[in-house]
Amino acid sequence: MIRFEQACVTYPNGVVGMKDLDLTIDDGEFVVIVGLSGAGKSTLIRAINGLVPLTSGRLDVNGRDVTKLNRSGLRELRSGIGMIFQGFNLVDRTTVLKNVLMGRLHEVPTWRTLIGRYPAADIDLAARALQRVEILEKAYSRASDLSGGQRQRVGIARALAQEPAIILADEPVASLDPPTSHVVMRYLQQISRELGITTIVNLHFLDLATAYADRIIGLRDGVLVFDGPGSDADEQVFESIYGRSLTADDTMTKHAAL
């Protein structure tokens, strides 16, 4: 369970990224966060695994108070939370398998990770993760040789290899074309349902959000302005989140009915 209580984030330059947030996300939920650029979507996601520290308030993740964790506590926390990035964040020059094995860094003895000799069980786990996103045959390709959609599947596999309780995805499809975006979103949704992983996704496009979300959270200037099931989110709700009328740029398929 993830619970924010009166949580605030103010960046060193004075910009407020999150303001008095009260939010509870239960285990196994599939949540989509929407909001204009700069609304604080990334801030929320990154707060959960401690990449962005709260400046005040409380944040409990699976019973641990994130604000009180030290370095090794944070590493421990992060090892149980998979993260998927807009730019994939793969190491281009190494193989797909090595990239996925990064998800095992916390569990494998340091000396083994340093010389790159992972235990068979971890390699097996990485292979299963690759299998899960149907890209096992690329295990020994260089990450840079893959297409965008394939890379993001490797990103998902890396997160899966952590055997996480939570997956955080910060605009995972923003660098992909529409059909590929749907493929990636479907994987995330299936994984969340089948493995019971709490999944939190930032999305830019409203039609994608309504198509996949069980629950939608709307942010505006760091403040929570909407929280409800995906089915409740109609055009009026989005206009209130965005504070303006919707345009074609807000949907992926240009004339999608919401």
Partner: protein, 287 residues
């Protein structure tokens, strides 16, 4: 053509560029002062071309093929000095370079490490060779040490510049999976920097060959020693042949090493191309 307006057209006044004038005048004064005060008998300059010509004909007209074996061996020794020196420098420069990259360690640590590089870079290898000769004798080992110590600074600088150019995405990913500092380095940084580092290492080896050929002139082993002996004893043929062997040997090693470097660099996928580092032009002794 339309007629020009009556009267003269007046241009706006040209602005006075003080900086340029001061700079130009300073340069002229410095050059004149040097020219007039330097301890050179300028009349000798007129004989220089003919002196050079004489020496040139002596050097390249009296070469003996019997010397080729011995001089090639000496050239090999120069190459060996350059290679081992480069390896020794790398052993120190690689770990230090991570400590000099501001994106990997804090600013204060990076600053201190860079000052170490700067000091090492300031000392010409020839001076280092002079210092090592009393310790190691007139042996190639003095040359190896001079090249080794002399290259730490430049290699370190080249390397940390590579580290600072890496993509931050993989580092962020490493943090997000809960990697430790060492693991972050091993899987987030090293795969990104290895190709360029290897390439620059080879590049430095090429530069060091020129340096080691020169070190012999002060007695630190290699072909420079043979050339300087030959010049001392006016054994012009040997000196000329030595010169040719230096140029040919350097070009051969450059060609092989350059081919390997290009292959390493082209094996990588990112669109940016590695250009030759600036030290390309500083020649050997300066590094």
């Amino acid at each position: 053509m339309p007629a020009p307006p009556a009267g003269t057209v007046e241009l706006p006044r040209r602005p006075l560029d003080v900086f340029r004038w001061v700079f130009g005048a300073g340069a002229v004064v410095l050059i004149l002062w040097s020219l007039l005060r330097i301890d050179i008998k300028w009349s000798r300059l007129w004989d220089a071309p003919s002196d050079l010509w004489t020496i040139g004909t002596l050097m390249f007209g009296r070469m003996e093929s019997g010397d080729i074996g011995k001089l090639s061996g000496a050239m090999w020794e120069s190459i060996a000095i350059a290679w081992l020196g480069t390896i020794i420098a790398a052993v120190f420069a690689i770990p230090l370079s991570f400590l000099a990259a501001e994106n990997l360690v804090g600013r204060p640590v990076a600053w201190v490490t860079r000052q170490v590089f700067n000091i090492l870079r300031a000392v010409p290898e020839v001076i280092l060779a002079l210092a090592f000769i009393p310790l190691f004798g007139l042996t190639p080992m003095a040359g190896v040490m001079a090249i080794g110590v002399g290259s730490i600074g430049t290699l370190g600088k080249l390397f940390y510049e590579i580290h600072e150019g890496i993509k931050t995405g993989p580092l962020e990913a490493a943090d997000a999976v809960g990697a430790s500092r060492l693991q972050r380095m091993r899987w987030g940084v090293i795969p990104q920097v290895t190709p360029e580092m290897t390439s620059f290492l080879l590049y430095r080896f090429e530069v060091n060959i020129r340096a080691s050929a020169v070190l012999g002139l002060v007695g630190a082993g290699g072909i420079g020693s043979d050339i300087s002996q030959a010049l001392l004893f006016k054994d012009w043929g040997t000196a000329g042949l030595g010169l040719i062997i230096v140029v040919v040997g350097t070009i051969i090693v450059d060609t092989i090493s350059g081919a390997v470097r290009r292959r390493i660099v082209s094996g990588r996928q990112s669109a940016t191309t590695t250009t030759e580092p600036e030290l390309a032009i500083t020649g050997g002794v300066l590094g």
